[in-house]
């Protein structure tokens, strides 16, 4: 594994290592030979066009989809050995929000993996769940039915559920999709505080205008891995062109980041 060896010699711990990963749906490849090593303590984005396999990559890392070949290692161990260290945030649209349950119950689900079979949530679990809710600013909604939440609130409790896992590596599928500006700013702040605590966050991100502002590491994929590395060296016009192909005309302005910082400023001005 040439990539990871090089990084290790720089003295960085690798949080997530994916080696030669190939995923296919009925013989049609969705991900082809993806190979990368993500150092810890990074806010990392996965970008790429629709259907590039971004969500599939996260799901395969989590073992939700079986890979045709390749391997995944988390903190240099197989996923099964360190599952408790990894928290996954699925897309908000992947569940039915009419499900009869309340906010605290959903966040408590973050503790189920640690609780073990047949046991019920205890005081420590409830406290962890409440503290996670406080971190996303939703503590006063603990008893609210989930069917009554807005999109941004749904996203926050999904994040709170992952926080309740108290993991080291966070994998998030489009946490910024369809949320209001205030929620976007709150989520960004949360990601930054996770990094400050020494955790590693890998996020599927669809908004090219904010990628360079929000993240310090990027994986650019279009079925294959096009480029990966630190944002400033990797997120270049050339790599964007390779990733998005002919569609780049629209995106070329994005590459020189004319809108830098404007999003964050806007978000701060607009209270919810």
């Amino acid at each position: 594994m040439i990539v990871s060896d090089a990084r290790r010699s720089e003295g960085q711990t690798i949080a997530l290592e994916v080696h030669d990963l190939t995923v296919a749906y009925r013989d049609k490849p969705v991900i082809w030979g993806v190979d990368f090593a993500l150092p810890e303590r990074q806010l990392a984005a996965i970008v790429g066009p629709n259907g590039a396999g971004k969500s599939t990559l996260l799901k395969t890392i989590m073992g939700l989809i079986t890979a045709a070949s390749g391997q995944v290692r988390v903190y240099d161990q197989p996923l099964e050995a360190v599952r408790k260290e990894v928290a996954y945030v699925p897309q908000r649209e992947s569940v039915d929000w009419d499900f009869p349950t309340n906010v605290l119950d959903v966040v408590m689900m973050g503790r189920y993996g640690q609780m073990g079979l047949f046991s019920r949530p205890g005081k420590a679990d409830r406290e962890a769940a409440m503290s996670a809710l406080e971190k996303v600013g939703m503590a006063e909604f603990a008893k609210r039915q989930i069917s009554q939440l807005s999109g941004g609130q749904q996203q926050r409790i999904f994040l709170a559920r992952a926080l309740a896992q108290e993991a080291r590596l966070y994998l998030m599928d489009e946490p910024f999709a369809g949320v209001d500006a205030a929620t976007e700013a709150a989520i960004l702040e949360l990601l930054q505080s996770l990094r400050a605590e020494g955790r590693t966050v890998l996020v599927v991100h669809h908004d090219l205008q904010t990628v360079a502002d929000y993240f310090d590491y990027v994986l650019m994929i279009n079925m294959r891995l096009i480029a990966d590395g630190r944002m400033e060296e990797t997120f270049t016009t050339e790599n964007l062109q390779k990733t998005y192909g002919g569609r780049l005309n629209l995106l070329s302005e994005v590459a020189h980041l004319a809108t830098r910082h404007s999003h964050i400023l806007q978000a701060e001005k607009k209270p919810e």
Binding site: Y88, P90, D105, Y112, F118, S147, Q165
Partner: protein, 299 residues
């Protein structure tokens, strides 16, 4: 014990077991798999008869449980490997297995004390006539069979509550925290198989589907809390059993038919008049609200 009580008590036990598993099937949007399994377990029951030569409960439950698992497995296999839609896969598998059961019954009709009408429609009125003695107690055979399965269902739902809830709400997340949705899916389907078998002789393969589907569907219109949903579904199942018995007795009709008609009527009443989600309330709200606001998302 009066015969009336014995019949109603059996019906309430069947309804309770059905409502509990039915709630989780509804939340996972797989209620129609109950229809498939209730038919597909037939060959398992017949084979258990043929192998043991008796109407012993345990071999029957094992046979049915295995066929339930086989149905689930075949449905998944066709869907994942063979480019077949889930509903088409289910329809093919369960009708095939049911037909195998029907043919087995006709082939071995002399050995098998089971007639096809009974399998399809059940006859709960015969419950008090068929007694069995265990632990020094002589009770209707249905009590032992249905009661045993009900205890199992209550234990399953009680112990696996949080796993069943998470697998229904967010299966991808469940897998991500190390809870196997496959294991829980097969476990739920095995329990559903046992529930349908224990209901066979009382309400039959067709109406057991009503007992699995209707109580949770009705309860869902009345609450948005899972524990209440389970409780109300059980209550509706029980109430329908009692009322259905008296409807049937009054008209001298099939008891299973009576129960199902009451289930349908209760659903209709709730659908129209439920406090939050009822059609009448929503219609009234709609009239008072300007047109632009009416387009609110309906649940």
């Amino acid at each position: 014990m009066s015969m009336e009580f014995e019949i109603i008590f059996t019906a309430v036990m069947v309804a309770t077991a059905c409502a509990l598993v039915g709630t989780f099937m509804m939340l996972r949007k797989i209620t129609m798999l109950a229809d498939a399994i209730s038919h597909a377990v037939l060959p398992g029951i017949v084979l258990a008869f043929l192998l043991t030569g008796s109407r012993n409960v345990l071999p029957m439950l094992i046979g049915a449980g295995l066929l339930g698992l086989l149905t689930t497995w075949l449905t998944e296999l066709l869907r994942n490997r063979g480019r077949v839609n889930e509903d088409a896969a289910m329809g093919t598998v369960f009708t095939f297995l049911f037909a195998v059961g029907v043919i087995l019954i006709s082939l071995f009709s002399r050995q098998v004390d089971l007639d096809q009408d009974c399998v399809l429609y059940g006859e709960i009125a015969y419950v008090p006539l068929d007694l069995e003695t265990h632990l020094g107690l002589t009770l209707p055979r249905a009590f032992w069979q249905t009661g045993g399965v009900l205890l199992l269902v209550v234990a399953f739902v009680g112990l696996g509550y949080k796993e069943l809830k998470l697998c229904a709400f967010d299966p991808a997340y469940a897998v991500s925290v190390g809870i196997s949705t496959v294991v829980w899916h097969y476990a739920l389907m095995s329990v559903v198989s046992l529930v349908t078998v224990s209901s066979f002789e009382s309400v039959g393969a067709i109406l057991v589907v009503a007992l699995i589907v209707a109580p949770p569907a009705t309860a869902f219109l009345l609450t948005d809390k899972l524990r209440w949903l389970l409780g109300i579904a059980v209550g509706i199942g029980g109430l329908s059993s009692v009322l259905g018995y008296y409807v049937a007795a009054y008209y001298n009709a099939s008891i299973a038919g009576g129960i199902t008609v009451v289930l349908g009527a209760l659903f209709l009443i709730v659908f129209l008049f439920a406090p939050d989600n009822g059609l009448v309330i929503r219609w009234q709200k709609g009239r008072r609200t300007p047109q632009s606001v009416v387009a609110e998302p309906s649940r």
